[in-house]
Amino acid sequence: MGYETYILVIGYIFGFYMSWNIGANDVANSMASAVGAKAITLKQAVFIAGILNVVGATFLGSHVTDTIRKGIVSTHILTDPNLALIGALSALLASALWVSFATWKSLPVSTTHSIVGAMIGFGIMAGGVSVINWTKLGGVVLSWVISPLFSMMIAYLMLKVIIRFVISAKDSFNQALKLAPFFISLTCFVVVLSFLFKTPLGQNLQLKTHSVVIIAVITTILLGFLGSLLVKHLVKKVNVNRGAEEIFRKIQIGTSCYVALAQGANDVANAIGPLAVIYFLVKTGTVAETIPVPTFLLLFGGVGIACGISMAGYRVMETLGTKITTLTNTRGFSVDFAAATTVLIASKMGLPVSTTHAAVGGVMGVGLARGIEAINFRIVLKIMLYWVLTVPASAITSMAIFWLLKLIV
């Protein structure tokens, strides 16, 4: 085995450690509203999150990967393959260590922000401050502000719509049953669109944009009706007293899948981005402006996340059900829908946003719509503090590891 094979093996290990961390750290946030609103049990949450993170990562997750790498750090520092290898390794390890530390200390950090910070750290070490593309970085930072706001808006509007048209109705149970196809279609729409846009599957079909939209609309309407038939079947035996909440409880099983899918699609890039660089360098010796991310790497990342979820996520989620008592299913649905939609759209646009922040934004939106008896808005300040902290913290860690590795190699 050559020296490069060793590097690749280490890259796999670090990549796996990072994706494991993502699973352990982020899953609680994304599944919180479904578990908290008692739509799914703990076991179901772990199962859904595990499987659908893999699916989302593998089939929806190819686009973000290159933006993190090429957007923020200029590629000319990557011309030296040796330096690039070490850099990608240190970025991976640094962000993984920082996320582990944050998980241990219960700090509200984002895995996405960690990897961005680590990449910056490596960039500065390899080529000085000038290699950082500040405009691109500014755009990324802006997306961190916009994504929770966007999610907040969607959640707010969604809950207002539900209040206006469903739960304030005289017979909210049947009203919810009647409108179920609409809500289910809406949930499926973004997923179907994402499948058709910018994935190997969509490109194979070679569709024009407008036909994609038409296909998506038709598919989602069909899925909506199928879904509502399923919901009708599921709620046959329940009591009507809980009204619309019971219907949304069933729909929320679907939206929690949606969240897991979006999370997989978005977060896999955090672990697989640097790993893809290593893989490409080892295989070809050079690195281009954009590199294709092999599907098996995405699958690898997805499996890593799933492992993190199944090993650490269970324990984390156990506290969810007892801690979140004020969330009902209509609220949970709004949060899930908003967070997943935001993350999936951002991920398709190539913006590295945080699933956690989208989820927080969703809860805020529901709170603003007066949907939760009491929420603590001040968490926003705390999260913002850790935005500001995470990037330099993981950057400095990455710089230190880079320096160490350079000494060794």
């Binding site: 209040i163 739960i167 004020t326 927080v360 709170g367 007066r370 939760i372 009491a374 603590n376």
Partner: protein, 222 residues
């Protein structure tokens, strides 16, 4: 294990409000027994019952402090924070008024209530117990309204508030009658003063229940 995301969710102050309302209800029952004991002469358990009320009041006070102390800056609720506090204060004043009435009796336990007035006292006490019992129901119905924002549920709460107002009015009329009778029966000035003041204090209980209703009306305003 602490999860950062969870700190966004907090214990609902309405849980506490509900708990407090239930305490008020318990106090109402103890108060009723204490009053029966006082009005019917040769009852020895009055002090025990009064102590029970004091104990319950202390517990309710703890709940009140818990609610107030656990709403940090930046809390977003279905209602305005200070509306909630004002409501809580009125609900708590019901308790204070009950305690005041029992304290007042304890200053001068003898010679009790003249036989001619006993029936009226019972009626007044019953008239103040009814609105207190409504409070707990009002809180729980209001929570349902904050859950679904349906107009139907809103009118359920408004009906309770209307009932509270009517009950307070009834209690007022009973209070007037009772005071008139006390003066008509006037034997010694000290007894008159004691009974009139007692009547007024009992009347306050219903007043505060009605005020709580009015505060609730403000909370469910669109």
């Amino acid at each position: 294990m602490r999860i950062p995301f969870l700190s966004i969710f907090m214990t609902s102050p309405f849980d506490g409000l509900q708990e407090h309302a239930e305490k008020v209800k318990e106090v109402a029952w103890a108060f009723q027994q204490a009053m029966e004991c006082y009005v019917i002469t040769r009852c020895t358990t009055f002090e025990d019952l009064r102590n029970e009320v004091i104990e319950l009041e202390r517990e309710a006070d703890a709940i009140k402090r818990r609610i107030r102390g656990h709403l940090p800056k930046g809390t977003l609720m279905v209602v305005d924070k200070f509306q909630l506090f004002r409501y809580l204060r009125e609900q708590d004043s019901v308790l204070d008024a009950v305690e005041d009435a029992l304290d007042w009796i304890s200053y001068r336990p003898e010679p009790g209530v003249p036989e001619e007035l006993q029936q009226d006292f019972f009626m007044l006490v019953d008239a103040t117990i009814d609105p207190i019992e409504e409070l707990a129901r009002m809180v729980s119905e209001a929570r349902k309204y904050f859950g679904n924002f349906s107009d139907k549920q809103r009118s359920v709460v408004k009906d309770i508030i209307r009932t509270l107002r009517r009950m307070e009015h009834d209690a007022d009329r009973l209070e007037d009658t009772l005071k008139r009778k006390v003066f008509a029966l006037a034997n010694d000035p000290v007894s008159v003063f004691h009974l009139v003041r007692l009547t007024e204090t009992i009347g306050h209980i219903a007043d505060h229940a009605q005020n709580a209703g009015d505060m609730m009306r403000a909370m469910i305003a669109k």
